[in-house]
Every structure is written in structure tokens, then in C-alpha cells.
């Protein structure tokens, strides 16, 4: 290491001589931190999104690299949030990519004591059979002489992080099934 480099690496010298008299930026940077690059720098693309927690609707930039989400940050373009995220929104990378997420269908048979694995297509088929049966068992053409055309066998309770499109299909399908006990976190 030459003397020049040695002196230049001394933060106080850089602070006095350089453009950072308060020593809060370039002057304070170590060689290691100087070599750091933002983790989003190598992202292949940035996808525009919205925070899934509360209803403020903060804009999110979702960084994708090699087909994986690598970082989620606030979107500075958003007139709602101006790039900010709260602790929950900032943790949404863990929400979406964290190890606590289940990736497989699980099944508990009646009176069973443990979970079992089940193939997704099989689960869907079994659920469809149960809907058909329970709907029929709970079917009611009329109540007290008044036409009702419904089933009281099936109910649904949804969270309010459902997309509008999801809610639309849920209401449409369940209404066609004749189910009326269709509810949402919005009630709670």
C-alpha cells in the first residue's frame, strides 16, 4: 500500500479534504462497504405491485432474479406512499419467500391424529365431491312456504386480502351453488 493510498484511506483526511465535511457519506465509507452493491442491482426485472397488508395501498417494487423474488421495496412513484413501507410491508419478502410457507397440500382424515400428504388434483376432486354432496344434503327449495332455492349446508369465510377478481368468482360460484352463508373479514 502506497503512502498516498494509506492517507486516502484515513476517514478524517477524506472528511477534511473531500466533499463530505460532516463525515456521513463518502468520507466514512470503508473499503469493504465501498465494494458493496445494492442487492437489487443484479435483478432481471422490477414488477409493480401493491402491499398486501393494510388498505393504505402502498406501492411496491418487486425485484426478480433467475425467476425468484429477491427483494421488495417501496415504490417511490406511488402518490399514496412515496416509496415508504411500514415494518410489515418491509417484511413482505419474508411473507412471500420465507421458510414458514407451506408448499404442499395436507389432509387430515376424519378422526385422524396426523396430517397426510395429498396430491393437489386429488384434493380438488375430493373437495368438489364433498361440495356436491353437502349442497344436496342441505338443499332447501322453500322455507315456511316461501321460495328460497338455496343450500344451508355450505359456508365460506374469506380474508380481506382477496383480490377483487377472486371475490367476484367466489360470490358468483357460491351464489350459483345456492350457498348464502358467504362471508368475509369485512364483517369481522
Amino acid at each position: 500500500m502506497g503512502v498516498r493510498t494509506w492517507i486516502d484511506s484515513w476517514p478524517v483526511y477524506r472528511q477534511l479534504k473531500g466533499v463530505d465535511p460532516l463525515g456521513r457519506g463518502a468520507a466514512a465509507k470503508s473499503r469493504d462497504s465501498g465494494r458493496l452493491a445494492p442487492r437489487v442491482q443484479t435483478a432481471d426485472r422490477v414488477v409493480k405491485s401493491v402491499c398486501p397488508y393494510c388498505a393504505v395501498g402502498c406501492g411496491q417494487n418487486v425485484y426478480v432474479e433467475d425467476g425468484r423474488v429477491t427483494q421488495i421495496e417501496g415504490d417511490p412513484d406511488s402518490p399514496v406512499s412515496r416509496g415508504r413501507l411500514c415494518p410489515k410491508g418491509s417484511a413482505s419478502l419474508q411473507l412471500t419467500t420465507g421458510g414458514a410457507r407451506e408448499h404442499q397440500v395436507l389432509y387430515r382424515r376424519p378422526h385422524g391424529t396426523e396430517w397426510e400428504r395429498l396430491d393437489l388434483a386429488t384434493a380438488m376432486d375430493m373437495i368438489a365431491d364433498r361440495v356436491i354432496r353437502t349442497r344436496r344434503d342441505g338443499w332447501q327449495w322453500d322455507a315456511g312456504g316461501l321460495r328460497t332455492r338455496r343450500t344451508l349446508g355450505i359456508a365460506s369465510l374469506g380474508g380481506a386480502t382477496l383480490d377483487n377478481e377472486e371475490n367476484y368468482l367466489i360470490k358468483k360460484l357460491f351464489t350459483a351453488l345456492g350457498a348464502v352463508q358467504i362471508e368475509n373479514q369485512a364483517r369481522v
Partner: protein, 861 residues
């Protein structure tokens, strides 16, 4: 707001930096209080007394906005002679039926005109409207088909613009709140008169032509047996002050979930169809016309309900819906009373409801009376849980509290459980509607991993499989299913339905399949289809308007080119009221939209919420109906009379004016009336696990001497399904705790960071103790009262764990919304951990015995 909507709160701080005063009214001192100019701690459950006190102040000191209320509210309307107020009848309104625990609201109507509500309990009017109109429709049989809605009494209501008529709304309001004095506010709420007067003056002084005041609230106002009346009290005040439809004004619901607004607009709610069209109740011989006749308004945009409904039926049933078959109106299942989530729990426990879908919801810890939720689930044939992680609602059969107490054995539980992992917002396309009614599109970034799928995928494919299995059915009960339009394009390796195709159906299309641009294009003859009339325009010109992202910095403060707000991309509702009756802004400082004399059009910064070419001085011809019946000053265009309602003649189950009642469980008597609780609050059928407590002076009420409220923290999200499994968030808030004042801690021997046991008539929980000055003891009616704060995010699963506060809550509901009262209860607290096993059950039983609780306790009218 700083706690639960921190990023939204930046705008409050911007306003404060520009001179705005921030008032925070909350039993607890929070991050919001820390940044507010004034913090007002009050007793949980007394906000109507507090707001009513401000209304009284505004009326007694002539601080209301006279020109605004005469032009835009129903203040001058004269009421019928037979109306009696709670001040006349000691806490109930006229029309009360003590046997049915309901009101007949006919005496609440205006003199000379019966109106229909724009929202709420519209079926209230069914009998009267259909009976009175049946004679007309019989007289004109056949001709009534295809008409634009019910024509009711055509007259105008009697008005007194001097506001002096003894039966005009303004005078009725004045009498109703006359006893809500600062002294009464102090006795009921525990707020000292000086502090209260300061709040009154800050609000009144910041309202009028040049200034506006906004109210922001969240579930601290809705989760009460009088929740709707809380919001109504704010509506009365804001209307009196002229703070509605104007920039910087309003009553802003701070919604806690990404698309909870969307979940009511396009509802997954039992009582609504998309766009707030009511689900039909079962009535004799009801067809499409009688339904519309009963539910629509005579005047305003709700008069077009038939167009909205027929277009929805066309979106659902496509070519099968024809004029000849009433557009498949008969395919809609009918309601008989309430079928809310709490009645559903009762139906599960009674064995009537056997199959249950939980789509991103965790009632085993997140809904009121968590134990009842689990008892319901334990009695099902099958349960489908779709979530990110193994939440308590998926695992209660294995490790729930009842397994620990020995009340249930896993081997005995017959419920079949399917857990299907859900896709994240980054793994699917779709729109959220935020708290300002703005739709924002989130784009898919990556494919969902493993078996994880969107709820769009789940619902679409479930419907597809069921339809395939029933394809050959000739049973008429399967017709609605087989005639359903269900042919959405799919994409990718998982066959994910195209979310934008669903959005296009929500937006609607004409007979040629071209996208509609406005709900005003909707027809009642079947030539248009539209999945949600208020969202019509979100896919105008075939462009996804919700995905618009012109940077905020490149736009003005309205930022109209970011996302899309319903209706018609209007950002402030009823903004005609931001101009005076002549169409000029009330002041330059508060200009938003105004009438341009030269161009003869409404213009301004926002999209005018008014017919663009209707002049301010327009007066409708006699006999006009629907939109044509709105005058140039009927700013509240959805309302049956075009006015903001200081007084609600119809649509609310529990009274035309907000009145203070004590919560279901309260240590205090009602100081305003001998009527203790809301007389028409909704109580579910008695169940041993949903007992109520004695209140006020009743013996046994001293067993539960403390007021309790539940709330959320910045670092967690509702019942924890999206936050207790995140290591960062778990580290920030690692476990359940309760907040108590140093005085209460000394009284009950509670140690900071130690354990406390909290008991109600429903259950017992343990929590870490946070002794803090943030909980301020209050003096209520001369008595020292302590409040206990309980954040409710927890359950036993995940990284951040603890008991669920909802073990303590009960299922007494607001009669309008069927929302539970979890924001004001009474309980006991003692030092130490709670008992385990059977002893936990015995402790609750001992408390019930000590308080003399039986199935009738707290169920008095």
C-alpha cells in the same frame, strides 16, 4: 393511525407541518397520540356520548354551517307528528316492539314523503312498499315491466328553511342532544370539561367556508353493539359543520386489510350482491319487478337499480338470462333473516352447516368468541383451509385449547380437513381496492411454488370440476350452476385463470362484447352485462385502468392517473357539495369542483360527482323520477332525497339518531337513560359458551370491574396469519401482552414483564404485563376506572405466540352490520399465569357462579 396505517399517517404529519391540529381520541396513548396536538383518553364504548356532546356544542353555540345544511342536508325536512325521540321515551324511539326486539320505522319518515335507503337495511321497507305499490302494479299490470323503478308518493317533503319548525330535523336534533353537555360527557366518558371544550372549539373553529376538518376511524368505532350509530354520530357532526364532499373533510374509514373495501364492493358477504345491490329476502311471489320496486329509490342513481341488477344477472348467466325468464332472477338464493358468520357458527354447532371454506381467514383465534368458532369447526363434516402457513384454524383438532383442557380428543373429532397452500400477491395478477376506494393492480412477478395457488385458481377450477361432474344433471337445482358463464381463459403451467378477463367482466360489456365506460350506459333490457356496476369504467376502452402508474411527482395533488377510484375515477365523493348552491367554491382555498358558466359544465380538480351539464339552478319538473328528479343542489346523488342525512328516516335498524347506550358488558349504568343497552342489539341464541355478564348496578357486575379493549400493533396483522410466521416481525413483537396503568398494577399486584391472567364470562387468557403510563385511569361518574389494553394478534402457532384475546370476547352484535362488540368489554385481571388443563375451565365456571351468570344474564332488552 400511526400504529396501524403508518405510511398513510405521513399525510397527517404533512398537514401538521402546514399548521393542522391533530386530535387523537383513544383510551390508550399510542404512537398517534405521541404525534398529536391533543390526546383525549376516554372510556371505551362511550364515543356516542362524546360525539353527541360535540354536536350539542355546535348547535348550542351556533357553530354549524348554516348555508350548507339548508342546501345539502335534511335539516329543514319536517318529520311526522307521531315520531317520538329517545328523550320522550327514556331511551327508545317510537315504533319499538319489545317482543320482537325490533323497530317499526314508519313513524321515523318525513311528513309527506316516504323514502328508501341508499344502503343498509332496505328490506325494512319491503312490506309497506310492495303492499302500497301492489295496487298500482295491479292496476297497470303488464305495463310496469321494464319500468325504471318504484314510483312512490310523488310529492316533495315539507321543508322549513328557517329551521324553526318544531318538527324539522334541525330542531329534533337540537332537542335530542340537549342533555349531552360537557358535564354529562365528563360523567359518561371520563373526559374533563376543559379538555372537551378544547376539542369542540378546535373542530368548530376549523370548519366552515375556508377550513375543513376530517375524521378518521377504524374498527374502534365499528366493533360495538351500536357501531353503525358511532359512524352516524360522526356523519351528523360532519354534515352540520359542512365537512362532507369537500377537500380535507369527510369521515375516513381506515381499513385494515389490502382489499377490505373491495370485499364489500364486490362482496363476499351474505346480504349483498356486487355494487351494494341487496341479496333478495324470501317473499311471497317475488319477481324481478317487485324486488326492484321494493328496493330501489324513486330519485337519484339508485332509481336505476334494475339496470344494475339485470346487467349483473347477464354477467352471471349470460345467454340463459332473458327477459322472458326474468333474467334468471329466480336463480338467486333467498335470505331468511341474517346469515352472518356468527349465525353460521351457531348453525355449525347445531349441525345444520356441514362444509366450511376458510379462504385466508383465521377465526379459531381471530373471530369473537374463538372457542365457539372451534366448537363449530369440530362439528363439521369437512373444512377447507387455504392459507400461507398452518394457522390455528387448520390445526385446532390437533393442538387447540380444548385439546389441552381435555374437553375434546383428537380421535373423537370427525371433521375432515384439507389444507391448501395459498399463492402470495407476488405470484398472481389482481386488483386491491384501498381505503380510498382506489383500485390498484398488482402484477404477477413469479410462478407460485409447489402446490400453492391463487384463490382465483381455486375457485375457478373448483367450479369447473363441479360443473363437469354435474354436466348431465337434469335436476333443476343444478341449472344456475350449469347455466353460469364460467369460461375464463387460463394461462401458464398451472392453468391460472386470466385475472384481467375477470376484471373485464366486472367492468361490463355491451351487446357486441365491447367494454363499457360508465355505469350510465347500463340498460335494464339485457343488452349490457356488468359484474359490478360501481366498477364500470375500470376497464374502459379495454385498458386496465387500475394498472395506471403515472408517477405521483408528474401529477397534481389529486393524482387522478394513478390507479382508478370508483365511481368514475372520482376521488372525493359527493364533491358537488364543495361548491355553494350557486355552483361557486365555498372559498378559493377549498375549491374542488365548480360550475363553469361559459362552458355550462361542472369542472374542477376532481371528476365532478354530479351530472356534468346539470346547472346549479336546475329544478326538476313535477313527477320526474330517477336521476332526472335530482335538482341542481341535490349534491348527495345516491340518496333518495339528494341530501346528507342528519336524521335517518329509513335504512337503520336501531334508530334515526345516534343515542348513547352502554356496551353489552359494562361496569357502568347508562347515565342518560334507564335503557341500559341498545334495545335492538343482536344476541345469538343462548349457548353455555357465550354467556354475557351483569352490567351497571346489577349484582355480580363488580366481579368484572375493568374495561377492556382490543387493538392491533404496527408489527402484526389481524389474527397473525400474515405476520406471526415472519422472523423480523416476531422479533419486534414476540408475544401476547396486556397494557395496564401503574395504579392498576399496584392494585392487583401485577409486575412489569411478569404474567397476568385475564378472565371474562367466556374464557381465560394469560399475557405478559406491560405496566405503562400510556394507560390513563379515568374518573367516570365519580368512580375511578381502569382500562386494560389487549392486542389480539395471537394464537399458539407461528414464531410469535400467545393466547388469543378473542377467548374473552362474546357474540353480541350490531343489529345493522352483524359485527361483534370486541372494542368494549368488562373483565377481571389477576397476577400470575392462567391455570392449565381442566382447571382453566373451572376458573371460568367459578367466575360465572360468583357473578350469578345464567342464560338470561345480559339478555334483557
Amino acid at each position: 393511525m400511526a400504529e396501524c396505517h403508518p405510511v398513510g399517517f405521513q399525510w397527517v404529519m404533512e398537514a401538521k407541518a402546514r399548521g393542522a391540529k391533530v386530535i387523537h381520541v383513544d383510551p390508550r396513548f399510542t404512537r398517534t397520540s405521541a404525534l398529536a396536538d391533543v390526546h383525549v383518553p376516554l372510556r371505551a364504548g362511550t364515543d356516542i356520548a362524546f360525539l353527541g356532546g360535540i354536536v350539542n356544542h355546535v348547535l348550542q353555540h351556533d357553530r354549524y354551517f348554516r348555508d350548507y345544511i339548508v342546501a345539502y342536508t335534511n335539516a329543514p325536512f319536517v318529520l311526522r307528528e307521531d315520531f317520538r325521540d329517545t328523550e320522550d321515551l327514556d331511551g327508545v324511539f317510537s315504533g319499538f316492539d319489545p317482543d320482537g326486539r325490533t323497530y317499526d320505522n314508519s313513524s321515523w319518515q318525513y311528513e309527506g314523503l316516504e323514502v328508501q335507503a341508499a344502503s343498509g337495511e332496505r328490506d325494512q321497507e319491503y312490506g309497506r312498499r310492495v303492499e302500497s305499490s301492489r295496487s298500482r302494479s295491479e292496476a297497470a299490470r303488464g305495463e310496469s315491466h321494464g319500468s325504471g323503478g318504484a314510483v312512490l308518493s310523488a310529492g316533495e317533503p315539507e321543508r322549513d328553511e328557517t329551521l324553526r319548525h318544531p318538527r324539522c330535523v334541525f330542531q329534533v336534533l337540537k332537542r335530542h342532544y340537549a342533555r349531552y353537555t360537557p358535564e354529562m360527557v365528563e360523567r359518561v366518558c371520563g373526559v374533563p370539561p376543559d379538555l372537551f371544550r378544547q376539542v369542540c372549539e378546535l373542530i368548530a373553529g376549523n370548519s366552515g367556508r375556508d377550513r375543513t376538518t376530517a375524521f378518521a376511524y377504524a374498527v374502534g368505532w365499528t366493533q360495538h353493539t351500536v357501531g353503525v350509530q358511532y359512524i352516524r354520530a360522526a356523519a351528523v357532526l360532519q354534515s352540520l359543520l359542512g365537512n362532507i364532499g369537500r377537500p380535507g373533510g369527510g369521515i375516513l374509514a381506515l381499513r385494515g386489510h389490502a382489499s377490505i373495501q373491495g370485499s364489500t364492493d364486490i362482496p363476499t358477504l351474505f346480504n349483498l350482491l356486487p355494487g351494494y345491490i341487496p341479496m333478495p329476502h324470501a317473499h311471497q311471489d317475488e319477481d324481478l319487478d317487485t324486488f326492484v320496486q321494493a328496493e330501489a329509490t324513486r330519485k337519484g342513481y339508485w332509481a336505476e337499480m334494475r339496470s344494475y341488477l339485470v346487467s349483473l344477472l347477464k354477467a352471471y348467466w349470460g345467454p340463459a338470462a332473458t327477459a322472458e325468464n326474468d333474467f334468471c332472477f329466480d336463480y338467486l338464493p333467498r335470505l331468511t333473516g341474517s346469515h352472518s358468520t356468527y349465525e353460521t357458527v351457531t348453525a355449525q354447532i347445531e349441525g345444520r352447516c356441514k362444509g366450511y371454506f376458510l379462504l385466508g381467514e383465521n377465526p379459531a383465534v381471530g373471530s369473537a368468541n374463538a372457542r365457539m368458532q372451534r366448537l363449530g369447526m369440530a362439528n363439521l363434516d369437512w373444512l377447507v383451509v387455504r392459507d400461507f402457513s398452518l394457522i390455528e384454524s387448520a390445526t385446532w383438532w390437533k393442538d387447540g385449547p380444548e385439546i389441552d383442557t381435555g374437553e375434546m380428543r383428537t380421535e373423537d373429532i370427525g371433521t375432515e380437513v384439507f389444507f391448501l397452500p395459498a399463492a402470495a400477491h407476488t405470484e398472481k395478477d389482481g386488483s386491491f381496492t384501498n381505503t380510498q376506494r382506489m383500485l390498484q393492480w398488482h402484477h404477477q412477478a413469479v410462478e407460485p411454488p409447489g402446490d400453492t395457488r391463487s384463490d382465483l385458481w381455486f375457485t375457478y377450477h373448483l367450479g369447473r370440476i363441479i360443473r363437469e361432474k354435474l354436466a348431465a344433471s337434469t335436476d333443476p337445482m343444478d341449472r344456475p350452476l350449469l347455466d353460469l358463464t364460467w369460461d375464463y381463459p387460463t394461462k401458464g403451467e398451472t392453468d391460472e385463470p386470466d385475472a384481467e378477463a375477470v376484471l373485464a367482466e366486472i367492468n361490463g360489456y355491451d351487446a357486441h362484447g365491447d367494454p363499457l365506460t360508465s355505469y350510465q350506459q347500463l340498460k335494464d333490457d339485457g343488452s349490457t352485462a356488468c359484474g359490478c356496476w360501481i366498477y364500470c369504467g375500470v376497464h374502459a376502452d379495454g385498458v386496465n385502468q387500475a394498472a395506471r402508474r403515472k408517477p405521483g411527482k408528474e401529477q397534481n395533488w389529486v393524482a387522478a392517473e394513478w390507479g382508478w377510484a370508483w365511481p368514475a375515477n372520482r376521488r372525493i365523493l359527493y364533491n358537488r357539495a364543495s361548491a355553494d348552491p350557486d355552483g361557486r367554491p365555498w372559498s378559493e382555498r377549498k375549491a374542488l369542483v365548480w360550475w363553469d358558466e361559459e362552458k355550462e359544465r361542472w369542472t374542477g380538480h376532481d371528476v365532478p360527482d354530479f351530472a356534468p351539464d346539470k346547472p346549479p339552478h336546475h329544478r326538476p319538473p313535477d313527477g320526474a323520477t330517477g336521476v332526472a328528479a335530482l335538482s341542481g343542489t341535490d349534491a348527495f346523488i345516491m340518496q333518495a332525497d339528494g341530501k346528507a342525512w342528519l336524521y335517518v328516516p329509513t335504512g337503520i335498524s336501531d334508530g334515526p339518531l345516534p343515542t348513547h347506550y352502554e356496551p353489552q358488558d359494562s361496569p357502568f349504568p347508562n347515565l342518560l337513560h334507564s335503557q341500559q343497552r341498545n334495545p335492538v342489539r343482536q344476541l345469538l341464541p343462548p349457548h353455555p359458551d357465550n354467556r354475557y355478564q351483569p352490567s351497571g348496578h346489577d349484582p355480580g357486575s363488580e366481579v368484572f370491574p375493568y374495561v377492556t379493549t382490543t387493538y392491533r400493533l404496527t408489527e402484526h396483522h389481524t389474527a397473525g396469519g400474515m405476520s406471526r410466521w415472519q422472523p423480523y416481525l416476531a422479533e419486534l413483537q414476540p408475544e401476547f401482552f396486556c397494557e395496564v396503568s401503574p395504579e392498576l398494577a399496584a392494585q392487583r399486584g401485577l409486575e412489569h414483564t411478569g404474567w397476568a391472567t385475564i378472565v371474562s364470562a367466556r374464557g381465560v387468557v394469560e399475557a405478559r404485563v406491560l405496566v405503562t403510563d400510556r394507560m390513563v385511569p379515568l374518573t367516570v361518574d365519580g368512580r375511578r376506572i381502569h382500562q386494560i389494553g389487549l392486542p389480539y394478534h395471537w394464537g399458539p402457532n407461528g414464531y410469535s405466540t400467545g393466547d388469543a384475546a378473542n377467548e374473552l370476547t362474546h357474540m353480541a352484535l350490531d343489529p345493522n352490520t352483524h359485527i361483534q362488540e370486541s372494542k368494549a368489554m368488562a373483565c377481571d385481571i389477576r397476577a400470575g399465569r392462567r391455570p392449565r388443563g381442566r382447571n382453566a375451565v373451572d376458573l371460568v365456571l367459578a367466575y360465572r357462579a360468583r357473578a350469578g351468570i345464567d342464560d338470561g344474564t345480559g339478555t334483557e332488552i
